[in-house]
Amino acid sequence: MPLYNRLKEYRAKISVNQQEMGALVGASRQTISLIERGDYSPSVTLALKIAKIFNVPVEDIFFYEEDENIGGQE
């Protein structure tokens, strides 16, 4: 089941590029790019680090398809 994310959206809010985002969470620019494209699901540790940067719960950034449908309905 694919893991969706709003990482690009949140990244734009704080005006950082992928390389800067990677430096903030200890990942490479390539990994941030892979996550945003949905080609890679981050580990729990990385997902938590990303969420901490934006000061939001992990579920606000990463979610499954079912959650997206629920979010849409709301």
Binding site: M1, G26, S28, R29, Q30, T31, L34, Y40, L46
Partner: protein, 272 residues
């Protein structure tokens, strides 16, 4: 998730296992029949073509030294030059993409990455192929000098071989330097003996997963390659004197790869 679980249940079912077993037995029987008939007709054909095979063998033995000194050095030189030109072209293209990168646009870096991967591939190919070609050139070197008087061509081979190695390493070094411009977290010097270890340690989880997946796929692919090559050399060796070492070294390489893979998996499973 439900569909995935259903698929796993199907693959694990006794019916699927029975079907797979049937297919496996059929393939074994067909292989046995092909091997049996192939061996029988191969032996018959070898008997009929005994003289032709011997003549081909003699032709190769008599003329290979000339091929070694007159053709092989130029082959190594040409291959080195072609690979070097290709590598330089891709390095230039990668550099152009990196210089025009605004720090945000993915496309420039994806293109640069693709070019740098090509540089690494071509330089690795250059190193390996020049070693193979040099080995073919220096086959029975001592008796070669007795049979021919073109020793200066051998010097061309030596120069081309070392030039190939040096140019390949130089291109790999420049590719690594360029990559570090847009991936500064990467560590390691190409001249360091532990370069691969240091580089791997500077990779993050996604990059390590890619390396792991690629390694596993390579291992599976090489298992097929080794098994095919071993089968071919054993069968050919029954009819043509290709030497004992072919099958031995192919089998040995396969064995080492398999054992080391199993050992590494066990080590990683136990958290080491």
């Amino acid at each position: 998730m439900k569909t995935q679980n259903n698929n796993h249940a199907k693959i694990d079912s006794p019916e699927y296992n029975k079907k797979s077993k049937r297919g496996f037995i059929i393939i074994m029987i067909i292989s046995l029949l092909l091997g049996g008939f192939g061996g029988f007709f191969g032996a018959k054909t070898t008997d009929l073509l005994k003289n032709d095979i011997a003549n081909i063998g003699k032709f190769l033995t008599d003329n290979y030294p000339l091929f070694q000194v007159r053709v092989m050095p130029w082959v190594i030189l040409a291959f080195t030059i072609i690979c070097f030109i290709l590598g330089e072209t891709w390095l230039k293209k990668a550099k152009k993409q990196i210089l025009t990168w605004d720090g945000e646009d993915d496309e420039h870096i994806e293109i640069a990455d693709s070019h740098l991967n090509k540089v690494n591939s071509i330089s690795s190919i250059l190193m390996i192929v020049t070693q193979i070609l040099f080995g073919l050139t220096t086959y029975q070197l001592m008796s070669l000098f007795e049979k021919t008087d073109n020793s200066c061509m051998f010097e061309v081979a030596v120069i081309a071989y070392f030039a190939g190695l040096i140019l390949a390493i130089s291109q790999q070094n420049r590719a690594v330097k360029l990559l570090k411009q847009y991936a500064p977290e990467k560590k390691g010097s190409i001249y360091d003996r532990n370069f691969h270890k240091v580089w791997y340690e500077s990779c993050d989880e996604a990059e390590r997963q890619i390396i792991g997946d690629a390694s596993y796929k390579t291992m599976r692919f090489m298992t097929g390659v080794f098994s095919t090559l071993l089968t071919i050399t054993v069968i050919v060796g029954m009819f043509i004197p290709i030497g004992l070492l072919c099958a031995f070294f192919i089998g040995l390489s396969w064995l080492i790869m398999t054992c080391y893979y199993s050992y590494t998996c066990a080590k990683l499973e136990h958290g080491k």
